[in-house]
């Protein structure tokens, strides 16, 4: 109807086209970009409070956001065909790098996550890179096949998923491996994997869990799970974080204690308040309504992502965009779930709110890919 209305006005259509054209020429999705900018702005506000009102943290984060938006812009310029073509090569490079991490890696707190590049180049975190590359690879692998995928294709895809995931579990980095596994599985789901297979694999994983527990999980990871099951068992040790974060969230009430007024976070009772546990600060200071608002913003981003996926022209773009969007949601769900005590504590930051540059850059790169899928349209398909 609006189009009809526009058609009646001379020059209006061309004007509309022009404005659409500007965003399209820059390969940006204005709605997604706007939502992300709002989210980042809110994120900086929460970070200021969570970091103990440290302008230094806010400025650093602002610089990282700048870099992240730049990366998004660059990624949006590339045609999806490029991603598709490069997927296997990037994947191979990533797996090699992950092996490299296990052999030469550096890191802190008993986990090796970084790889020092030779010749004065900066060190990189291959697992972050794989967050993008694994769904790309699985999407590449499946999109060239008959969909819904056959058992053989599914097994092949699972192999592609779990090779890097196991390498990352080995580092160990449970949070990232969960996110990557999820992103791969989402590709399979969007590709149309049959429910019988899903049920079969579900049963297999349930059976495999005790084996994981006994052979693959490190002591501190087991401790986290145990603490999750009963945080009161060790209230001053590993249960401290979760008790304090629940206290912060619960004491926020309906409207919260007010910005910069959260006693749990401002008085340092809440650990990791500006990184993984930042949602507790938001919940304490802005209350239930504040978190609801933030969740709404996240949902808008997720639904915009799903919309872009549905509108994608080919199956590669479709299933990749869907997977990247759902992975973004998994970040949110796992983070808020762990901070509010319904999931065990795994190191997953709250997207674009938690302090830290790496995840911001990776996430914005993924949104860059989404925008690329949305804005590189072939006339042929119409």
């Amino acid at each position: 109807m609006s189009q009809d209305f526009l058609r009646q006005m001379p020059g209006a259509e061309s004007h509309l086209k022009q404005s659409q054209g500007l965003a399209f020429r820059l390969h940006l999705d204005p709605i997604l970009l706007g939502l992300l900018l709002v989210l980042c702005t809110i994120g900086l506000g929460i970070l200021y409070s969570a970091s103990g009102q440290s302008m230094v943290h806010v400025e650093k984060q602002l610089v990282r956001f700048g870099l992240a938006f730049f990366v998004m812009f660059v990624f949006a310029q590339l045609d999806p065909i490029v991603y598709k073509r490069w997927s296997p090569w990037l994947f191979g490079l990533g797996v090699l790098a992950l092996v490299g991490v296990l052999v030469f890696g550096t890191g802190a707190k008993g986990a090796q996550r970084w790889l020092q590049l030779p010749g004065g180049l900066p060190r990189v975190q291959p697992s972050e890179f794989m967050k993008l590359v694994v769904p790309m690879m699985v999407a590449w692998f499946l999109s060239s096949r008959y969909l819904p995928p056959s058992l053989k294709a599914v097994l092949g895809a699972l192999l592609l998923i779990f090779l890097p995931v196991l390498l990352i579990v080995k580092q160990p980095d449970l949070g990232t491996s969960i996110l990557i596994a999820a992103s791969g599985v989402f590709v399979l789901m969007f590709a149309g994997i049959s429910w019988r297979l899903v049920a079969g694999f579900g049963a297999l994983i349930a059976g495999f869990a005790p084996v994981m527990w006994m052979f693959f999980m490190r002591e501190y990871q087991k401790q986290r799970v145990l603490t999750f099951l009963d945080p009161e068992s060790d209230p001053l040790g590993s249960g401290w974080n979760i008790i304090q974060s629940k206290t912060a969230i619960g004491s926020g009430g309906l409207w919260g204690k007010g910005w910069l007024e959260g006693t749990q976070s401002q008085l340092d009772f809440l650990p990791e308040s500006h990184t993984d546990f930042i949602i507790a600060v938001c919940a304490e200071e802005f209350g239930f309504m504040g978190v609801l608002g933030l969740l709404l913003l996240y949902l808008l981003i997720v639904f915009r992502g799903l919309y872009i996926a549905v509108k994608a022209q080919d199956s590669y773009g479709r299933i990749l965009a869907g997977s990247l969007t759902l992975t973004f949601f998994v970040y949110i769900f796992v983070n808020i779930g762990m901070v509010s005590g319904i999931l065990p504590v795994v190191g997953v930051p709250l997207p674009l709110v938690s302090y830290g540059g790496t995840s911001a850059v990776t996430l914005m790169a993924a949104f860059g890919v989404l925008m690329s899928i949305h804005t590189h349209r072939k006339m042929l398909s119409r």
């Binding site: 056959s150 912060a248 009772f269 919940a283 869907g322 949601f329």
Partner: protein, 623 residues
Amino acid sequence: MRSDRRLKDSNREKRIYAFRTILAALFVLGLTSALIIRLYDLQLVNHEHFQTLSDKNRMQLQPISPNRGLIYDRNGVLLADNKPIFSVVIIPEYSKNVDESIASIQEIIDITPEHIKRFKKRMRRSRRPYQSVILKSKLNEQEIARIEVRRHELKGIEIQAELARYYSMGSATAHSIGYVGRINEKELAAVDAKNYSATNYIGKLGVERFYESELHGVVGYQTVETNASNRVLRVLDRIAPTPGRNLTLHIDSGLQKKAVELLGAKRGAVVAIEPSTGGILTLVSTPSFDPNLFVTGIDYKSYSALRDSLDLPLFNRSLKGQYPPGSTIKPVLGLGGLDSGVTNRAFSIWDEGKYQLKNDERIYRDWKRQGHGRMNLFSSIAQSCDIYFYDLAFKMGVDNMSKYLGDFGFGQNTALDISEARDGLLPTREWKRALKGRAWYPGDSLNMGIGQGFMLSTPLQLATASAVMANRGRWVQPALLKLASVGARPIRQRKIEMNDIQMINPEDWDYIIDAMSEVMHGKRGTARSSGRRASYRMAGKTGTAQVVGIKQGEKYDAEALSERNRDHALFIGFAPVINPKIAVAVIVENGGGGSTSAAPIARALFDEWILKLAASDKTESME
């Protein structure tokens, strides 16, 4: 098995994809709902629970110690003050390594191994997290300055100020006011622990101990906001503590000082009482010690030096020293003899220096070998004739003597606010049978008649008896407290009441007091040298208490006996005779005769006090 090489069905893919996207959207909405339900549960359903937890985290109820009441002398001279002292403390939670912290302070100020030993001992005690532990107390200004300058390098080290007791007269009042010290667990168990939750000190001795509940005050509270490392950020709410009550004592600091001066290096005690009130003007025991040393904890070396000294500086002779009263009880016994009709003013004896009981070979001697000649009660008191009192004691018997002595307060602690004072010993038949398993012999009575034998008395009892005598039988119970500042509860004192002494013939009082005056002013009075050239009349009685028993037939030779075996010199008295203002008891251990070493001290105190009163009367009348 289906082949992957089938032609791709784009429409089917799209259809499946659309369906899966709807599922994905439902998946997202479902999980989001789970999060919202969880948040609803935490933030709305259980909000109050978590609000309480959050408040418990940040808010702490801290007790505030009340300021201890001050102690003044009767003229308003501050005897016990609260002064800030500074201690260097370590907060182990902030210090990376406690030993390193100690070492770094050691570079700046003097820390002895004993400081470290005590610090380690305190560290082992149970303490709250982030509670500081004292390393060294009573820092001087230089030490504080040195630490402050290097404060930034000293992690976990702080200077803490607190109010601590300071006794302005030091050793002069140690045995009367006593002192406070750091409260120990046993003492804490005996008091209301809540009220003492912020208190570091408790009265250990003397007035400080007796009036502990009045001096202490009521604890206050403040609610503070702390951060996770227990640092106090701000005070949210405060209930001010009620300071302890200020006490004004009867003690006159000038007279107290004078008594200390007069006793000098001698071992002895002086107690002076205001006869009209029973107020203790002076309570001195020498040698003494500096009570300020005990407040924050005396070091072991100084303490063992005090404890092991032969002169017993920690021993309070004025309250706990139990001495045979010697001849000082003769006026009391004379009064009893008259009142009970055993003797009368006309009765006299011939004193040849010896007294013997029928059927007893033992010879009871007079202190004057050749005897006093003809003696009646009046001259027997004035010259302290022993023979007359042997005779009187024999006639009165132990029961009668004990009754009159008991009326004057011997044998019990009559003080209203001194609980440490000993009872002395007022022997009776029953006592001897119970304790020694023997009957009371007439010879025991004879010894008692001159204040020797079993009877023991404290300087406080002697001074009290002297005050009752000065009052002609009207009882005044000795007390240190003159008045206290307003308080919620009445002052608690010892529950003991003494009855005024009624004579059948009240003129007997004047007769005995005249005799005591003769001691001071008479030609042959035993203390006449101390009564000379006085502008007022005084009454007194000298006494000598044997330290070693003199065997039958032996002669007492002061020169030959070593100093510590010499007799104790005693004196009781009051002045002026009419309208008495001061009653005293003086004892000088191993001082020899009462007339030579004890009476002059009493005279000097009389002068000091009566002349001072006269001077203040003059200024009052001028105004």
